[in-house]
């Protein structure tokens, strides 16, 4: 029971972190049709910038400054990069963001070095919020949940209650029509791209000290975020939310389950002996294939339901 509760909380925290990254990506993806490979790189930049900024002005100003810097970087990428390759088609845009990943990866190593940064949870949030079955629940995780829920509400209000949100929604589903009605769709693209990068940067700020701020963090986060976006479905923030939480829970729960396929077969009276590839597949515990699950799920959903969980149109 205690494992279930602790994993539930951790999964929720991880899922909300994923959602912060994935919501920006899903907005960009649904609108421009570009799966931004560099999205996780922006997340990494956010974490590194937050580290540097917080050394001068403290954590809480950095919480605002670093995401804004990320938004600026995002706007620059859209205006000077993506817009230029747009007329060459989606593959060219995909390739462009793919190239960015290398540059960001190496630039971060060049600027901040190869070693992990000492980016820590601020002392004012470094205490235990409550204990469940003797396990501490750090206040910082509560803060992460708070920030991500706040961001969720803010994004929802922006999209549903403001005029620019209305235009974004229109451009999300019917870009040509929105353009025909006289809206400056390229500018909306820039705003959405910058906004997506802002969210990624924010995720970096609060995720950087939850996980570790090191040059490999984009590489480890990137594929999972893609899975979430594709799984949740194109053009659907709700699907993205469900998929993020689901992935967060699956990945935290898979780590603690120690059964294998053989354990399920045992009640049927099936046992295997010997040491070959077949027995190896049967005896691998779920904890070890946890990393495989998201990708397997993505492949299955893409081949049978290309629009994802709640998507409005095919990927």
């Amino acid at each position: 029971m205690e494992i279930v509760l602790v994993s539930l909380f951790n999964g929720l925290v991880y899922g909300m972190l994923l959602f912060m990254l994935a919501s920006g990506l899903t907005l960009i993806f649904s609108m421009m049709g570009v799966l931004n490979f560099a999205h996780a790189s922006i997340y990494m930049i956010g974490a590194y910038l937050a580290f540097t900024v917080s050394r001068f002005v403290g954590f809480f100003p950095a919480l605002i400054i670093a995401p804004l810097l990320c938004a600026l970087i995002g706007a620059a990428i859209e205006v000077w990069g993506l817009r230029r390759v747009h007329h060459n088609g989606h593959i060219a845009e995909l390739l462009f963001t793919f190239g960015l990943v290398f540059i960001v990866q190496r630039s971060v190593q060049m600027i901040w070095g190869m070693l992990p940064m000492a980016y820590r949870v601020p002392p004012s949030l470094d205490f235990s919020l409550f204990t469940i079955y003797g396990a501490n629940f750090p206040a910082y995780r509560g803060f992460m949940l708070l920030v991500s829920v706040g961001m969720l509400v803010a994004t929802w209000l922006l999209l549903k209650k403001t005029r620019i949100g209305l235009v974004i929604q229109a451009a999300l589903t019917h870009p040509q029509m929105a353009s025909a009605l006289g809206h400056n769709v390229p500018r909306v693209f820039t705003i959405v791209f910058a906004g997506g990068c802002l969210l990624a940067g924010l995720a970096g700020v609060i995720g950087g000290n939850y996980q570790t701020t090191e040059p490999g963090m984009a590489e480890s986060m990137g594929p999972i975020v893609f899975v979430v976006v594709v799984f949740g479905g194109l053009g659907s923030l709700a699907g993205c939310f469900v998929a993020s939480i689901l992935m967060g829970l699956i990945m935290t729960f898979a780590v603690v389950i120690n059964t294998s396929m053989l354990d399920l077969l045992r009640p049927l009276g099936i046992t295997v002996t010997g040491d070959n590839l077949f027995t190896e597949i049967l005896t691998v515990p779920v904890a070890r294939i946890g990393a495989l699950l998201p990708f397997a799920m993505m492949i299955i959903i893409l081949s049978f339901r290309p629009r994802g969980l709640m998507g409005t149109r095919d990927t």
């Binding site: 989606h90 462009f96 540059i103 070095g113 594929p223 594709v230 040491d275 190896e280």
Partner: protein, 427 residues
């Protein structure tokens, strides 16, 4: 037409002759053999050419952006290790020269299974499925000890004592010629594939897949066959990798190699058949040359790649072939002066950029490795202002100058093209 075909064939023969002669250009008379570094670099070029060419069967010819191409390269490699071990044990009576064929068949087998799933979709969904497949395969390779050997990989001894020509393959040079032969065979096979109905339909479904359906073809089957066959050739490449290094770890099927295949095919030129070979040679040179000198070669490759995506989507080969009409019109000489005028600020800009990148890199990574930046025999203090300032001035000044010159270059280029148009229509 026949004249241009003649030139094409002679260029191919020239490249082949160069590849055959290259190891002897670095023959060391003191030790009585070729330079080991050169041999391994040339071998690497050979297998990377196969990888890039087979990747281009998807990217360039079928318009499919795959992110798991290294999977088939890797599986070919792993399978070959096991084949070689079986051959040494005597349970596989096959000469060394034919082992890569088996590697290719293992690549084909896996590509048939995975391609059945992946080719259900196209465009972005296809890219995402292949991303998932690639990650799945890497995780499996680390998990299942029996076939993949976990993190340590699997190894073998390539001297199986069975050869069609009585060779032992103890020396790198013999392996190099084996690689060259298989590269030539695979390249020829892939070239002839582009002329078959399958190759033509792959092009058609890249350009307009709806029209392909109207004509009565199933674009999915076209994708599937193209995917499976590219897996075959990637497997051959992986087999040669296993034979060369005698060890295969999960690096051989991991994402960086897939990305490398993409970079080679795209930078070389995915629109032409020979482009990926050029890209493979170039990237391998960069990898083994520049990475020795600089920590930040990935930045250069990334910037080169992005510049290609923005300014030259048809790759280096595309840039070269764009000169075709001008060469045929005998007007190439008139481009010499504009080229020099573009080249000077271009070099200035590149020098400034490289300077900034290297200064930054020596500030952190270089300092951690205890190295210092040396230029023309002078040690450069990376904390001084002067080098940073001069590099920035080079970059910005060169950039602005280049923009001006590029404008006048474009005018000359378009003028030449305009002048050639009537001639071409007469001919």
């Amino acid at each position: 037409m026949t004249a241009s075909r003649f030139w094409q064939i002679s260029i191919w023969i020239l490249v082949l002759a160069l590849a055959i002669a290259a190891p002897w250009a670095f023959y060391n008379y003191h030790t009585g053999r070729q330079s080991g570094f050169v041999i391994s670099m040339l071998s690497q070029m050979g297998m990377m050419s196969i990888l890039a060419l087979s990747y281009n069967m998807l990217l360039g010819q079928a318009g499919l952006f795959s992110l798991c191409h290294a999977t088939f390269f890797g599986i070919g490699g792993y399978a070959t290790i096991h084949f070689l071990n079986m051959a040494s044990a005597g349970s596989l009576p096959l000469p060394m020269e034919l082992i890569p064929l088996l590697s290719g068949l293992s690549g084909l087998g896996l590509a048939i299974v995975l391609g059945y799933i992946a080719t259900k979709q196209r465009a972005t969904a296809f890219a995402m499925i292949t991303l998932g497949i690639g990650e799945l395969m890497v995780t499996s390779a680390l998990m299942f000890q029996h076939f993949f050997g976990g993190e340590g990989g699997v190894n073998t001894n390539r001297m199986i004592g069975r050869s069609l020509f009585g060779l032992t393959y103890a020396q790198g040079i013999q392996v190099y010629y084996l690689i060259l032969a298989w590269t030539l065979l695979s390249a020829l096979a892939m070239f002839f594939l582009t002329m078959t109905p399958l190759g033509r339909m792959a092009n058609a479904s890249r350009d307009n897949f709806e029209r392909v359906q109207f004509v009565g073809y199933d674009p999915r089957m076209v994708r599937f066959f193209q995917f499976a066959l590219s897996g075959l050739f990637a497997g051959i490449g992986g087999g040669l990798y296993a034979i060369t290094y005698e060890i295969v770890t999960f690096d051989a099927l991991a994402a960086p190699l897939s990305a490398n295949a993409l970079l080679m095919a795209y930078i070389g030129g995915s629109a032409s058949f020979g482009g990926p070979i050029l890209g493979a040679v170039l990237i391998t040179l960069l990898q083994s040359g520049v990475s020795l000198m600089s920590n930040s070669w990935l930045v250069y490759v990334g910037v080169l790649f992005i510049s290609m995506v923005i300014f030259a989507p048809s790759g280096i080969m595309g840039l070269v072939t764009a000169h075709g009409p001008i060469v045929r019109g005998g007007q190439l000489g008139r481009l010499a002066v504009p080229y020099i005028r573009v080249l000077v600020p271009g070099i200035l800009m590149v020098a400034g950029f490289v300077g900034l990148v290297e200064l930054t890199s020596f500030l952190t990574i270089g300092a951690a490795q205890g190295k210092s930046l040396v230029l023309f025999g002078n040690k450069i203090d990376v904390h001084a202002t002067l080098p940073w300032l001069s590099a920035a001035v080079c970059l910005l000044g060169g950039g602005f100058w280049l923009r001006l010159e590029a404008r006048s270059f474009r005018r000359v280029w378009e003028g030449l093209m305009q002048g050639l148009k009537p001639q071409r229509s007469v001919a």
